[in-house]
């Protein structure tokens, strides 16, 4: 009995337990709603199905969640400007490709160059956030609030207040399909991003350093880590990844829509991090958890759309989920529950 219980508690206390349970719950909900949920077919030579759609659409979110996890771990705060930064990167990339025109079906410069410039500008936005947070010790969310509101304004100025269309077929590859490959490209982008980030975090000491800065910044400084620099780097990485996500999102619709690219995605990314079992107050992080969290959120979004919930109304449900997760995560609440169950046992 005792060993059974401990095995059970070992499973429930595994870091990936919560995220996986949430994912399964959402998937089961979906199967009940639409019995054909897991069916994957091939239409016109490409994979087709709900599941593929979720994994495909969730790519940007996964990319964002990776950056957000690092920022959360290092600084104990979240970067709420990622959605706006996505819009900036997309706007710059599309403007460069069209050569400043509103619509164009030719490329003014190689896509790779424009994309890299877009991503670098996003990195610059990240550096701005990082400077405010790491060097000036401003609370992360207030610091990123500046770009959260100004970012879309900047994107509007870049696109001159219009939607920039880049109709060259080669620009659609990143958000569509490579040649005859049946798997959508964004999935590859997300997988490559995750692998590269994991390699950087695991093969170098960066991951460990980020955790130690998040757990105790001054102690890490005293053992010789440059905690200011580390925090700054996480924000730059978050910015770069937001830029990449922005370009994928813009390639999907082969245009840059400053108002709608990455809209409300900052909330989804924070939600993914929280759902992944990461403490929003910083410290240890679990990248896989965040990634599973991101797919869970995307599955939730897709299923809510399937239930005829409009895009404007989605935030209500997501906000409720966020509140539930943070309440469950909060140590005070856990103590209360623990006390209550102890009392019950005592009574029994």
């Amino acid at each position: 009995m005792q060993s059974n219980q401990s095995k059970w508690s070992r499973i429930t206390h595994a870091p990936l337990f919560m995220p996986i349970v949430c994912l399964i719950a959402v998937l089961v909900l979906n199967v009940i709603q639409t019995p054909t949920f897991f069916k994957i077919s091939i239409n016109n030579g490409v994979l087709y199905g709900y599941l593929i759609d979720i994994i495909n659409r969730g790519s940007e979110l996964v990319i964002l969640a990776v950056g957000m996890t690092l920022v959360t771990a290092a600084s104990g705060g979240q970067d709420i400007s990622v959605g706006a930064v996505m819009a900036v990167a997309a706007a710059i990339c599309c403007q460069l490709l069209t050569g400043g025109q509103k619509t164009s079906s030719t490329l003014a410069m190689p896509i790779i160059v424009a994309a890299i410039i877009g991503i670098l500008v996003a990195g610059l936005c990240g550096a701005f956030n990082g400077f405010l947070v790491a060097n000036l010790h401003i609370q992360p969310m207030v610091a990123t609030l500046i770009l959260f509101t100004a970012g879309r304004g900047i994107a509007q100025l870049v696109t001159k207040g219009q939607i920039t269309y880049e109709r060259a077929p080669s620009y659609k590859v990143l958000g569509g399909y490579i040649g005859k490959c049946p798997v959508p490209t964004p999935i590859f982008v997300a997988i490559i991003t995750v692998i590269v980030m994991q390699l950087i975090l695991k093969k170098t000491a960066l991951g460990l350093y980020v955790e130690s800065v998040g757990i105790n910044g001054s102690a890490s400084r005293l053992v010789g880590l440059n905690s200011t620099m580390l925090k700054f780097i996480t924000y730059v990485i978050c910015g770069l990844l937001a830029g990449l996500a922005g370009i994928v999102a813009s390639s999907r619709i082969y245009s840059a829509d400053a108002n709608n690219i990455g809209l409300n995605l900052e909330m989804d990314a924070i939600l993914a991090v929280a759902l992944g079992g990461n403490n929003l107050g910083g410290g240890k992080f679990n990248m896989m958890g965040s990634i599973i969290g991101a797919y869970t959120i995307q599955a939730l979004t897709t299923s809510l759309y399937a239930m005829n919930v409009s895009a404007d109304q989605l935030p209500v449900y997501k906000a409720i989920v966020v509140v539930i997760i943070v309440v469950i995560q909060s140590p005070v609440f856990r103590d209360k529950i623990a006390n209550a169950s102890k009392k019950r046992k005592a009574v029994a």
Partner: protein, 348 residues
């Protein structure tokens, strides 16, 4: 120490007032031909920002305790939409709409306050969830714009109060300057809260908690209930401010008051409220609101700049003031450390 703190508050307030004066006078000189110098133009600043003044006052209270509330913009949208909905579609009276507005605000305040103070969750996360929740709920009520035609409501909205001064028009007739009752309410709120902050036990407790929560606990203050009251009061003022905003716009739609939280936070920060808590005045906040209003009217009077510039300029201002605070605060901290070192040396 007390003297240093006082001068810090005074210094920030002084910068704000000087900045407002400089901006307004510059506007008067540049846009002389467009009527910027008329007294009515000055009063219009109050008329169009009455709601924001009240909301920013509420936010100041929360920020003094070291917290923050970014849900106020969404609460405003929700209040406007539900007021419009009950009056136009449900046939309720304007008085009922006012009560509804206050109840919505209170509900947000109570829930967010409880989660922040008693479950110790970061205020940013909770109010971010509140922000998305409020905006989403607005969309649930209606995704279309509802304009208010309720007679009583319009009578409230259009009741002009003429002042004993004005300007002489081309025909030599004195045109009285006017304000709306909303302005009076807003100014009364400012005065009441300033008195409360300065002289009431509750007001002083807010500063004590913001300055150092642990010392406040040791002093025997009931930190939790004080913080809770601060959030409830903030929610109530957000509801009231939302209703005043509605009296100005006479309509409810989903995108309304988007970014208002940013305006309110900027106003408080520009007015000398420290983001770290413990310092702030609502008079400063009032000037902060006037500055944001002046930026807005300068850019709209100029005519050729797109409205996106308002957000961008405001963000730059916010950034400037945050950095200024960080520098002043940082200098203060260093002094403290030095003082500690000295005392430490003296004791050894």
């Amino acid at each position: 120490m007390k003297k240093a703190k006082l001068s810090k508050t005074g210094f920030l307030l002084l910068i704000t007032i000087v900045m407002f004066a400089v901006m307004y006078i510059a506007g008067m000189i540049i846009f002389q031909d467009k009527g910027f110098a008329k007294p009515q133009m000055f009063l219009n600043l109050f008329i169009s920002n009455a709601g924001l003044i009240v909301i920013a006052c509420g936010l100041t209270i929360v920020m003094i305790t070291g917290g923050i509330d970014i849900s106020v913009g969404s609460v405003t949208a929700l209040v406007c939409m539900s007021a419009a909905d009950v009056m136009e579609n449900k046939g309720m009276s304007a008085v009922f709409a006012l009560f509804l507005a206050l109840i919505i605000g209170l509900a947000f305040g109570v829930v967010q306050g409880y989660l922040v103070t008693y479950l110790k969750i970061q205020p940013f996360i909770i109010t971010l969830a509140g922000m998305f929740f409020g905006r989403g709920l607005t969309a649930v009520i209606s995704t279309k714009m509802i304009s208010i035609k309720n007679k009583m409501f319009l009578a409230w909205a259009n009741e002009k109060m003429y002042l004993p001064f004005g300007y002489t028009n081309r025909h030599g007739v004195l045109v009285h300057a006017y304000i709306y009752p909303t302005v009076v309410i807003a100014l009364v709120v400012v005065v009441l809260i300033q008195i409360m902050l300065k002289f009431s036990k509750f007001g002083r407790a807010l500063f004590a908690i913001g300055g150092n929560e642990q010392s406040a606990v040791l002093m025997g203050l009931n930190v939790k209930s004080t913080k809770m009251k601060a959030y409830v009061l903030d929610g109530f003022l957000a509801g009231l401010g939302g209703f005043l905003f509605c009296l100005n716009s006479c309509a409810g739609f989903v995108e309304q008051a988007k970014g208002l939280e940013m305006d309110a936070i900027s106003a408080a920060v520009i007015g000398g409220t420290l983001l770290s808590g413990g310092v702030g005045t609502v008079v400063g906040t009032l000037f902060g609101v006037l500055i944001t209003g002046t930026i807005q009217s300068l850019i709209t009077t100029q005519g050729t700049l797109s409205s996106w510039w308002v957000r961008i300029v405001l963000s730059i201002m916010l950034c400037f003031f945050i950095v200024l605070q960080a520098i002043i605060g940082g200098a203060g901290l260093k002094k403290k450390d030095k003082g500690k070192e000295k005392t430490a040396k003296a004791t050894t």
